[in-house]
Symmetry: C2
């Protein structure tokens, strides 16, 4: 089935042709994703929340360890405090439903203790496994929300201040917030999906290839410049980066600035202290 909004999918944006059979309602929905940052103020019902959470809990989990927890935040005062902790993102405050997905080994430690086995998974693998578990839940929650007509914005900046977020959410040692999801009824109609790097840059048949990569990046820079994605969003101007003419500032420059000088984006930019903070939260990373 192709629904009425299917002219705003990535298939159309990029001219990707597939048969109608390949475009299930769900495939079209996924290909329509865009972050929706403006709420119309309406509540999200407990009914819809239950559907979203059930979808999240249905995501795969590595070895069925279920090394994640989901915090469901509705209290406006708490959302307001969290919005400040994650870099004053207004839509976290405005979205009536804010989910926080956490890597969780508190439960695994407890289970080891109760069964009389010594917990030995205090390593990078377990932190990664738990973070992936949490991420898969988040993506299912986002997909479920969008299928209900809601908008969602993933919030990586719950990692800006792990200890502050943990205090606000009463997370025990062994639990760290890795990604959030602000859910609201969107106002306005959005711009449609954001262009991505040409698939030749990110998708590799059989083996990784860098052939044509520079050309793909240059093409993408042009696309993003033409779309004016970075208007008034040049990175690091206050810390000495040059203001470039709009036609010189594409994905490459924006991305390079984000990945370089930690000062350019303020202290939380590259989350320089995440390793110590995650260890502080009870994850060994050996």
């Amino acid at each position: 089935m192709i629904d009425s909004l299917s002219d705003r999918t990535r298939f159309d944006l990029e001219g990707i042709e597939v048969t109608p059979a390949a475009r299930t309602e769900t495939v079209n929905l996924l290909a329509m994703h865009e972050s929706r940052r403006t709420s119309n103020g309406d509540e999200v019902s407990a009914d819809y929340e239950r559907a979203i959470i059930t979808a999240a809990r249905s995501a795969p989990t590595s070895s069925n360890l279920q090394a994640y927890s989901i915090l469901v935040v509705r209290d406006p005062a708490r959302r307001s405090r969290l919005a400040k902790l994650v870099g004053d993102q207004r839509y976290v405050e405005q979205a009536p439903l804010f989910l926080v997905f956490c890597a969780d080994i508190y439960r695994l430690r407890l289970v080891c203790e109760r069964q009389g086995h010594a917990f030995a998974a205090d390593n990078l693998e377990m932190f990664l496994l738990a973070s992936i578990d949490a991420a898969l839940c988040m993506q299912n929650a986002l997909t479920a929300a969008e299928s209900l007509g809601l908008g969602g914005v993933p919030i990586g900046s719950v990692r800006n201040d792990p200890e502050g977020v943990a205090t606000e959410l009463a997370l025990p040692n062994g639990v760290v917030a890795t990604v959030g999801l602000a859910i609201s009824w969107p106002s306005g109609s959005g711009r449609g999906p954001k262009p991505r790097l040409p698939d030749s840059a990110t998708v590799h048949p059989e083996q990784y290839s860098t052939e044509g990569l520079v050309e793909a990046i240059e093409e993408y820079d042009s696309t993003m410049i033409a779309r004016e994605v970075y208007r008034n969003r040049q990175v690091g101007l206050r810390s000495g980066q040059e203001q470039l003419p709009a036609n010189k500032y594409g994905w490459s420059e924006h991305t390079a600035r984000r990945c370089s000088d930690p000062g350019a984006l303020g202290p939380a930019s590259l989350r320089e202290h995440l390793r110590e903070q995650v260890q502080q939260r009870g994850f060994g990373l050996r």
Copy 2:
């Protein structure tokens, strides 16, 4: 819309009641997920592959950095070699389409170099960000595949031998496989979604709570024992763990054994060397 198979969703399994409006076709699909490990041998068309990859590329990506790559493996000889590298999982060899999702900072480093900025994101945050990007793509690919009637199995054990997988897939420095997805036309009908911990254990309104956690775990142990999930799957028998009566071996014991003695599961079990291996692949983790 509730489709004909909606009696095999997590809603039904757990008796979760929501209104029909909350059960979109996509919500039902997500709530029906189960790993399908047997292939009927049929090919997956290039058409369906294109739809799956487009869905994957439509997932959110942190700050639009697109710090992932997707390897599309169809060559039977390569799938066979990869199946051995990931712990001899037969369904990797049998699934006609094997996707490998990688954390990728090769491209970000290149972009920094071309723009004349020094790459400074050689820290845990960037590895985590890239791994989450890759995981979100994987989850979208899985959802798209399932909407097409295909079955998928996420393969975390691409992390068993990062260097071996990198060699097989010609991954450059700065790229590491974090999760795979074996896609096939399933044979048989499956068992329906696997029971999860009661939501009281994993979902927390407003703040984390451990109230009732032990009871929830005990309830889940009983559920999994009744379902005979661990029949002939007790962990660590060859390394000295006791064979327990089936009614004493539930999720708790299985999980505790997996999280404890690294020897119990063989050398790759807890992926003890992942930190060094990821660093070897070009990720700073400071």
